[in-house]
Symmetry: D3
Subunit: 73 residues, 6 copies
């Protein structure tokens, strides 16, 4: 029954999403012996002005080069 939701900023390719779905499902089976046929992985991507950390949007942090705590792209 596991349902895994991945929230991240935009930019992943279809191939990267496929790898993520496969990799997370494998972890659920390997670590927790979950049944893959009911394991769902759901990926959602967001604009960088809709996500903030430490009170500032990722869009601003990237524009200012302050990427020590966030991803560069």
């Amino acid at each position: 029954m596991p349902y895994i939701k991945v929230n991240m900023t935009k930019g992943a390719t279809t191939e990267q999403k496929a790898q993520l779905i496969e990799g997370i499902t494998e972890l659920m089976v390997k670590i927790l012996d979950k049944n893959p046929s009911s394991t769902q992985v759901h990926i959602e991507e967001f604009e960088t002005d809709s996500w903030g950390i430490a009170g500032r949007s990722v869009k601003k942090l990237r524009a200012e080069g302050k990427t020590a705590n966030i991803s560069k792209k």
Copy 2:
């Protein structure tokens, strides 16, 4: 106060969404005696390459005709 979130792949019409909002709200009132005026239903739709089951994306499963465990459309 109930808040119901429906996550599904893209394709529903505005009319189908309206039926879903109405039907789920009726269930909350009928089964649990919830107050409809604070019952919210929220529908979110996703691309088929962003949702996986059994380690593979819905997009791939449909392309291969493997729809025994997923919806055909």
Copy 3:
């Protein structure tokens, strides 16, 4: 693939939850022709001091009898 999450305050019986799971699944099949075998319904219940509407917790609103916009129980 649909995944439906119901968020509500505590108090439902196991029987009521079973009715909700059945009823919502039927709606997904009837309105949207979804495949029931991959339709998941997930119910989560919360304490009344952890949910607020109009800026006040449900616990307070109930204690004051202000239940016009919320459920009485």
Copy 4:
């Protein structure tokens, strides 16, 4: 570690989102002494036909001028 998700209908400007991210982060620090560097605020916006209250979509309620319990825009 707090993760705050704001779900609302479409229409906010980038500036309003920035204010929201800043304001909510300040509340988490002030009220709960949370560490801002791991406090994330995530804003998601939806179409008005995908959100319902009292069994009807926001789109319909607005079209009919029934906005006593919802926002006008």
Copy 5:
């Protein structure tokens, strides 16, 4: 219609939760002119072994005093 979900580790008092519900609702009204009567704030609290950052659980990070990027309590 806004629905705001706050996810954080356990430990807030009922009074702190009430302040959070009030404060976030005020922000939604002030910044976005949202209708408070349909603005819902929902707080959920988790155990420290169920939340991880940088690949390690908050429980472990706190036990080791590595709290530069997380809250101390």
Copy 6:
């Protein structure tokens, strides 16, 4: 900034949760080059009467031995 939420039925040990947090974070770094210091993994566990598939709760499906599409434990 990624925020990954794992929803599953109860029963994982603290050690298994730690492995899951570590494994998912590694995937995010390896596949998408995400910054681990802002990658959060959040695990939530539910009772088996609060989760349903194909219109029936996991609790009932397990009691009846119908575990072809769900996990056995």
